[in-house]
Amino acid sequence: MQPQREAIPRIETDGVRGGALRLTGDWTLRSLSPCIRRVRRMLNAADASRDWTLEGITRLDSFGATMLWRAWGRRWPERLAIRPEHRTIIDEIARSTAAPLPTPAPYDIADLLVVIGRAVFGFGNHALDFVRLIGQLCIDLLYLLRYPREWPLREVSANVFKVGVKAMPVAALVGFLIGVVLSYLSALQLQAFGADIFIVNILGLGIIRELGPVLVSILVAGRSGSAMTAQLGVMRVTEEIDALAAMGISRSLRLVLPKVIALSLAMPLLVLWTSGIALLGGMLSAWVQMDLSPGFFIETLPTVVPIANLYIGLAKGLVFGFLIALVACHFGLRVKPNTESLSTNTTASVVSSITIVILVDAVFAIATRSIGVPL
């Protein structure tokens, strides 16, 4: 809606240099907005030493008042005609801006030191908290051994469904495609050497021992780890965790433990499922690409891939699941009641769990280097 004609803010001069200025119209945020440049230009050209006639102003709000006050160089002009109600508005601006708002201190070199120090102490703090969480879980387990009736079985079962069953379609899709791609790329190389049948060794070892567990871990960290962090974080923001504590219910027992147990249970199963589908994809691709019959593939697989590899893969799944859930809960419980903290902690949770999974995978590779590899 356009302001009506008489409401447009105007500055009129006598035409004489240094002559009187007459201000008319509405000097409000709304009516100044469309013509702000023109008004600013004219105000900049004027100065406080001239005659100011403001009696023609119909409406004045604090934005208009601020513009005028700044145009006058933050003091009252000597010759000013103004309605009393408008004078009080400008007077309020004058009073409230007498003491400037504090500004955040600018950064300097010393702050860099502070940032580094904070990061170091922050890391220590994280490590301490993490150990404390693990310790708390151990205490909870001991408690549950004494009082087996209090096992949070329903929560565990609900979590297994959420992190395991519901992740199956996406894990299958990703696994199948990776199997197809891996098989296709290896086939191209192997055919060059006439070593077609080694496709079974490559796919079997690579997927069951290494790719399956890591792939599922990354998927689950992104899918369930972030969800756990966000859930616990929002529960902190809405004081649900405090409410639990007030009822005397241990948050670690009711919230953290079920998640950790559920993911530790569901991950090996997901690894099995995904590795199986990935092998299926690889097998089909090998069939199409190299005319390697599925019957031969299935027959050869157990002879070239020792069963120990499957156990290693499943063990990895269990450990990775345990770590992802633990990291997710750790960051979730550190969320402070604001949106920024929620996003930082969710990001940190996913990034840390993926990093930790890959680190631990390297440890696995070294620790199991003599197991399950056919010579």
Binding site: T97, P100, L101
Partner: protein, 258 residues
Amino acid sequence: MTDAPAIELEGISTRFGTNIVHEGLGLTIATGEMVSLVGGSGSGKTTLLRHIIGLTRPAAGRVLLFGEPLLDGDIREQRERRRRFGVLFQQGALFSALNVEQNIGFPLRELDIATEAEIRDLIAQKMGMVELEPEHALLMPAELSGGMVKRVALARSLVLEPELLLLDEPTAGLDPERSAGFIRLIRSLHERLHLTVVLVTHDIDTLVALSTKIAVLADRRIVSYAGLNDTLKVDHPFIQSFFGGEQGRRAMARHGEN
């Protein structure tokens, strides 16, 4: 300035599933009024406020602000219209990633008309208006008390010089003294800035102290829209129990003394 009423609601119907909240509800609020919207729990007061703000759309009926439908025209026109009202949400709804100064200045900086120096002046003035000290400017919302959150949120809703102020439970969660102070603040703002104010409230003290008119929401419609004394004369079970209860009588007595 147009003479159109600040808010016109015509034939509003709202449904949540099978639950009918409003049915053929109508209400016209003239500019300059200070209207309290009251009603029982679940009677759809906040929903009605959300219709006015344009956050939700009624299943049927029209919402006019200053004589125009809020959601007409292109995005720029809609935004222009939305800048004519300020909203104080029940929990304050401060942006938790921004400090007090940035929260109050946010709408102005979005508008991109004022210079940075002017924005800081206006923030200082608004903070003075809601009785915040300049040193509070750098605090984050998480560090504020409940009353301060409400005052910062009020300052933010006033920073674009709105003609209409919508308050959702302005005194909920404040202790009686803070709440009385907040009421005084809103009343003085109403007098000085010639605002139209619509507030949703449960609190009889707030209602008695503030409103020039009271809109009573019951039976899915507005059963009464009148000044306090006329509202009391309306023979409706909700009005009788709302004002006739212990708290209501005490609030009336206090009002009579003043």
